[in-house]
Symmetry: C2
Subunit: 453 residues, 2 copies
């Protein structure tokens, strides 16, 4: 098997440094494998323990019976090298090294030793100083963060890789809460062996991944990364959030993972030429990813807005225009049809205002007309679910409008618990939902840019 | 009583246009008064009904026994004038007119008639075409949006007024969900009589209001508004979100409340001179309001960051600098103290990185040192609650750090449900919490600008 694929599809895993003490990293990690629905076999390795969570423990990976696909390593820094040698003897081909205490604290010599040893043993490794991987489909989960504190998302089509473990982990937690779905998660830390370019290439060929998302602080092999991105971005969207964009932030990077951050304007230029979509913050990565993984390419930049709140329509207009999109002008035919069928209160303009008297039927009439109109490239439905005459039937109407995938379609809905419940239903059916006009506009613009508009 | 105060403190209310049919506006509004813990008396007025929700109904406001402080009007547009005349006869001094169908649909003559009639009868009125008011302290609630769809926030010190009813209502709903607290809410629609300047003056003298927030599409009496804002902003922060900032958005305004939006750059200049803090989006209004209503004025712009996630520290640094703040440089004394007491892993810089091994005690040590250091004007604690050794004791430590109010203090914490639970506890104790570095930085900058830094 491809040693890169093994990180996610391993059938036998050795957790080297598994621990009995419940607060220890090695314990949480081992328990995750037991709790995660991992379908393969997992073996705890610990020189001192006989049993962990009722499972027989082995003093070395070499003592584990049968083949081992993947070693997950969380032993102290000074013991890592020997563990790698033992993995080599056991013919393990893939390792995830969680252990920290290398380049990030100035111990570059120690990290170089690890790199050399991995090469010598023919092992591909993610790490050091990382959280490792999580694949909700196979249940491989090397995160040492307990599930009651950090929830895991369900299987889907968005993959996310992060140099920073902290950022990676909160992204997972937040995706789970929002109901966003995940293909593969990788926290790769110092990139001692496997780096962003390797992971990019792997996710490009991974069929479950429709959109590749990254949090980067720096890039190890700049030229290779650029070439790979340029090739891949033509068929799969690559979305990047870059940390360390100011001089002060760059300084902070060097004391974090020890990588050089480089000038932000250089990154900007390179990203643009490579066809990489740049996100401005964490939330935006997923605003863009959900949009790009669910919606068709638009034919142009003309957006029609349908709303039941006038003020929201105005804010939406402002943000669409600020983000370089234009307001569609409905054809005479559409206006005529709507004038004959819509309620007297409906303001048939752009934004089309159904007012606080909006009903599910009025949304159907309006959205169907916009979807058919050749002057409209994308449709935004602002749905303030709070208005009294709007029944939950509107969910079916919106879902149906999206099902045809004839034009990009998004919903903007803001409010409290009732609204959030409604939005989760829409998200589950594949409609990107946003709370505020600003984020929806930016995501629509990202989609248009990816479409080459 | 001050007829402006009566809108919020009325003891006897007549709901004119109360209805039996549960989906009707007049019904929902009447029921809200019964459900809201309103301590006064409420009378339904309807020519045709004898009883509504078991309460005796009156054919006209003139038939209601005793004094009526406030009339809430939701009769059809053509009946509004007569209702005002009857209110005049009953010596009602304050009215909230929910009814739409005036200036916003081109019926300016009809609206002018209402204005003249209100003057003639000596009645101050909020509306027309509005949701009216909500005061969680007194229970006055004229919103026709049912509570199971739109929750109401608890009593607090932030007031919010909105020209747009839709925006006003979703803000309420969202505040309730987030646990943000409210002093007074006003949706004033077309501002036929009471306008933004009247409301601004009222909220300035209202003791329960510490921060005044507004969503504006236009201003009716520009000069008066400017003068009032300039005077008031010296002692109470005024935060404004302006709708209709692009040419297209401005066009949309005119078909919404029928008011002229004016050029955005003019508003920008006027707002700045008047000491008004301008918010970029709805969330930001409350980012700023929570900051300004809970935190002391900073002495300068130097921010110290304490974090348990390196990547988050970097993002925070970027955003602080982008927002015009500077990174504090700890005094030699502080560095020395921390070196002797902090764990070997702690990176004593700015950001100060406690790493994923952070404990509650480490946060206490670090934050206390920053609070004492004269080189530090504001402190940001990034707390990724997911890390395994961080116990809930940290909540007490953060709360204690904030209690002294010696320097502005905020918490940045991102994640899922567990994190949200922790953040709600912190918010309840008066610490502004943010999910992302960007928003925290913008809010710190707003605080510094209000302090005149």
């Amino acid at each position: 098997m491809d040693p890169m694929a093994t990180f996610f599809k391993a059938r036998t895993v050795a957790v080297i440094g598994a621990a009995r003490e419940t607060h220890k990293i090695g314990h949480v990690m081992f328990r995750n494998f037991l709790d995660s629905g991992f379908g393969g076999r997992v073996y705890p390795v610990n020189q001192k323990a006989k049993k962990i969570l009722g499972r027989r423990c082995y003093p070395s990976v070499m003592d584990v019976p049968g083949r081992v696909d993947l070693a997950v390593v969380s032993v102290p820094a000074k013991a890592v090298r020997q563990v790698i040698q033992e993995c080599g003897k056991k013919r393990v081909r893939s390792a995830i090294i969680i252990t920290s205490g290398f380049g990030e604290i100035g111990n570059t010599a120690g990290e170089e030793e690890i790199r050399v040893e991995l090469k010598r043993q023919g092992i591909r490794a993610i790490g050091v100083n990382c959280l490792g991987v999580f694949d909700p489909k196979t249940g491989v989960d090397t995160l040492f963060l307990p599930r009651h504190r950090l929830e895991r998302p369900k299987p889907g089509h968005i993959s996310f890789m992060s140099q920073s473990g902290a950022i990676g982990s909160i992204v997972l937690d937040w995706m789970a809460m929002k109901g966003y779905e995940l293909s593969k998660f990788i926290s790769y830390g110092n990139a001692t062996d496997v780096d962003e370019t390797d992971l990019l290439e792997f996710l490009a060929r991974d069929r479950d991944t429709r959109v590749i998302c990254m949090y980067l602080e720096g890039v190890k092999r700049g030229r290779e990364f650029y070439r790979a991105a340029k090739r891949i971005s033509k068929r799969k969207p690559i979305i990047v959030l870059k940390g360390g964009t100011t001089e002060e932030g760059t300084k902070a990077v060097s004391s974090h993972t020890g990588s050089l951050a480089g000038s932000d304007s250089i990154y900007n230029a390179v990203f643009e030429q490579a066809g990489i979509i740049r996100a401005g913050d964490l939330e935006q990565i997923f605003d863009f990813a959900r949009m790009l993984s669910t919606q068709p390419k638009p034919r142009g930049d003309r957006v029609q807005v349908v709303t039941d709140g006038g003020g929201f329509g105005i804010m939406m207009t402002d943000w669409l225009v600020k983000n370089g999109l234009s307001m569609a002008k409905l054809s005479e035919k559409t206006v005529k049809t709507l004038k004959s069928k819509a309620s007297a209160y409906t303001i048939i303009k752009n934004p089309m205002d159904l007012t606080g008297a909006a009903t599910a039927g009025m949304y159907k009439l309006a959205i169907d007309a916009c979807m058919r109109d050749r002057n409209v490239d994308m449709v935004v439905a602002i749905v303030l679910f709070q208005v009294p005459q709007l029944t939950s039937e509107v969910i079916e109407i919106l879902t149906e409008a999206n099902r045809k995938k004839s034009k990009p379609f998004v919903v903007v809905a803001a409010g409290g618990r009732y609204t959030e419940t409604m939005k989760k239903k829409l998200e589950a059916s594949g409609i990107p939902c946003f709370s505020y006009p600003e984020r929806a506009s930016q995501a629509l613009n990202a989609l248009r840019e990816f479409a080459g508009g």
